[in-house]
Symmetry: C2
């Protein structure tokens, strides 16, 4: 039995073509019995891989299989697509069943009309929770937190707490990992892991068990900041406090993992000049997400072309320059991108701070000089062997060192500067850095060539 369990859960027995064949046969019965056996997360993964038409066919055939748990597991964009296809009573049921953080995420994806329809049929408490969450900005903790938690005063005993939990029953969250110890004003003053509580005898007072180090998260905190605190302090759950320091909800590590993945994806795509990407992207949305940065790149490439055009005459005289100049620009571009990726990552991990900025700039400068010299020598040799001209080799040598230096310094100073000015360093640094390396690369190379060769 064990083996079957783990098998079913970690790798679904059948691949997606099995679902597709049942769909095409309109075999609702087999679809139901197959999906009853697999984990909602596995089904959500498979459902995401269906085409739009197949999803619509699925919902037309067996709408009830899109359960609350499945909705909570699907990617937001897929939820947005299918909500209009599901009966309102089913969505309302799912929202009631789910913890409020999951319910909020589903609610976020609805059209206004459907929202009011659903709000009408919800219980007052569910409605109040939803509205409270939606009052916070997207990507802040107030929007994402779970509003149910277990708190106890320090003068209770282990026994009091256990009795209280047994009595409360439904009002508790499905899962929790810490009891938050609060003062009379509901400020968290300590915490007791549930596993510690369980190990101690009923008459132990919470005061003696509690750890008085509590990392609290503010309701208005950006999700990225909260994720950083979880990473830094190795948290499993953490209380969220309102402006007066009163506990108003909790965040747990499983939701933080989702946040971290979203933020990492955002940074990685932003560095490459992509604003958004998802499983359901069409060719059209792909164009929309990428054309703006390509347009900016076109502008900066033209800027670099102007630099080349300044030396039109030099190139006519020495066509070898046209052959070598992309090497200088490309090496600078790569070196700059390397430095930039390291800098953006270090900023995200808070390793690069105002305290360490100068040390990092110095290190990048020295490293750029080193790499510059290494590859300047290499290019000079290649140029000399290829064209047999010492003067062109010298020009290539000097231009390479200069461009590496600019690349290294731009790679670290552009993201630091953007961060200091309050911008996201991942988003627009690339364009600045490659513009610098293109313009400097062409200008240094052709400029020195004009001076030395003409």
């Amino acid at each position: 039995m064990t083996d079957i369990m783990s098998e079913t859960v970690t790798s679904p027995a059948r691949d997606i073509n099995f679902i597709i064949s049942l769909l095409e046969a309109g075999d609702a019965k087999d679809l139901r019995s197959y999906l009853a056996d697999i984990h909602p997360a596995d089904f959500a993964d498979q459902f995401e891989q269906l085409s739009n038409d197949q999803r619509e066919g699925f919902i037309a055939l067996t709408p009830e299989l899109i359960s609350a748990e499945v909705l909570a597991q699907l990617e937001d964009e897929v939820v947005e697509d299918i909500l209009p296809l599901l009966p309102s009573h089913q969505i309302a049921g799912a929202i009631t069943e789910l913890d409020n953080d999951d319910a909020t995420q589903i609610f976020e994806e609805m059209e206004d009309e459907q929202r009011s329809e659903i709000l009408e049929v919800l219980e007052p408490e569910d409605r109040a929770n939803l509205e409270a969450s939606l009052a916070f900005d997207e990507e802040t903790i107030g929007r994402l937190m779970q509003r149910e938690f277990v708190a106890a005063p320090p003068f209770w005993t282990v026994g009091d707490t256990i009795d209280h939990m047994r009595a409360t029953g439904e009002g508790l969250p499905d899962l929790f990992y810490n009891i938050w110890i609060v003062d009379t004003k509901f400020h968290p003053i300590g915490h007791i892991p549930v596993s510690t509580l369980m190990r101690n005898s009923r008459d132990t007072s919470l005061q003696t068990l509690m750890d008085d180090q509590v990392v609290t998260i503010a309701q208005n905190m950006d999700q990225e900041e909260a994720a950083y605190l979880f990473e830094k302090y190795h948290l499993i759950s953490s209380p969220v406090v309102d402006d007066d320091g009163r506990i108003s909800g909790i965040m747990t590590a499983d939701d933080i993992i989702d946040i971290i993945q979203d933020e990492n994806k955002e940074d990685m795509l932003a560095l490459a000049g992509v604003t958004e990407a998802g499983v359901t992207d069409t060719a059209f949305s792909t164009v929309k997400a990428r054309a703006p940065w390509l347009f900016i790149n076109l502008m900066t490439a033209i800027l670099a072309s102007f630099v080349i055009a300044m030396f039109e005459y030099t190139i006519t005289e020495f066509v070898q320059l046209a052959i070598l100049m992309p090497i200088v620009a490309s090496m600078g571009g790569n070196a700059g991108t390397q430095t930039l990726a390291v800098a953006v990552r270090s900023l995200a991990e808070r390793d690069l701070t105002s305290q360490t900025a100068w040390r990092a700039i110095r290190r990048e400068g020295v490293a750029a000089l080193f790499n510059g010299i290494i590859f300047a020598v290499a290019l000079a040799i290649i140029a000399y062997v290829w064209f047999g001209r010492q003067d062109i080799a010298i020009v290539a040598f000097i231009a390479m060192i200069i461009n590496h230096l600019f690349a290294g310094l731009a790679g670290i100073m552009v993201p630091l500067g953007l961060k200091k000015l309050g911008f996201d360093p991942a988003v627009s640094s690339s364009v600045f850095v490659t513009t610098v390396t293109d313009v400097v690369g062409f200008f240094a190379f052709l400029g020195f060539a004009a001076l030395m060769l003409l």
Copy 2:
């Protein structure tokens, strides 16, 4: 009191210059009392920001402040640097005090000589645990898992379990979140969250409480795979099983967060052609981590130059080509990088699978054609306005579309191909893709120019 607590923990009262000034004054007493107040994670962060000399000075003055908890929080590379400076008995004490996963990480950073010294003074059980962990490959779960966990047979009651835990005391992990229900062969057959256990009366049998869906992780599993399972199934902790399916340890979400951050960092740096980067990097290690990829880039840039050299005569006749050709190459390079970043990220998130590969390739092809046409028109107009030559505008137009198409297809097919061949798609895709876009860009542009203009 609350406010002070949260303040101390989430933002240390003093910045790093305070520590430095105490260090310079040799004020061990104030250093001790300041550090007693702040969270070990905050202290670890500050210690990482010290220079090598300052770290040595710190350890010479107050070695005891590098506690077990601090060692567990420091980055591996910093631990490696300072272990030789710490007294062996202190390290042995830390290893005994820590959970075995943290102990293993510290042990990994030691020189052989220090290892045998420490092994000699450890308790047999701690030694056996360490050796068992180190028998697994780096970055596999066997190395990273915690070897202490709580398991119970299904026929026990809640009361039995609680009594067992109270009796066992020291043998239990510091924190745990689930009770793993095992059969007589120690195979996990279900789990009960501690919070569920607590809420139920003492006479409830575990069998009735347990959730029989268990996501197990194999000892030999790569850490990235395990992180993916945590993300997918929203796990807080998960049992690790040996080759016979017997539970041998657990993984928890806080450690998974560290793994996710490491893997993301690796992918992001690899895409930019950096093999490694850390807080303690010197200029020399920076050069070492980047020069190899710059060297490969030099080779591919020279390849692109050969293509240009093939059309030396065409360029001499029409110097405008030298001015415009970097634009075509740069646009293709950017479009390819965009597609590549999306593909690498989708592969990491398992959104891009063999099931969805063709759909993604088709989408990228269509999007590339669209973007190609948009920017081909733009460049053609610019070329016409700039140089007043219709023929050059047409050449630019055709080359731009071709290069966008190749960029889009290379951007998705290169990482898919590398993955299929068993390579990490993040590591070497960039170089292939930019080589394609450079070579195709120059060849298409200059080739059509030679055909049309000469």
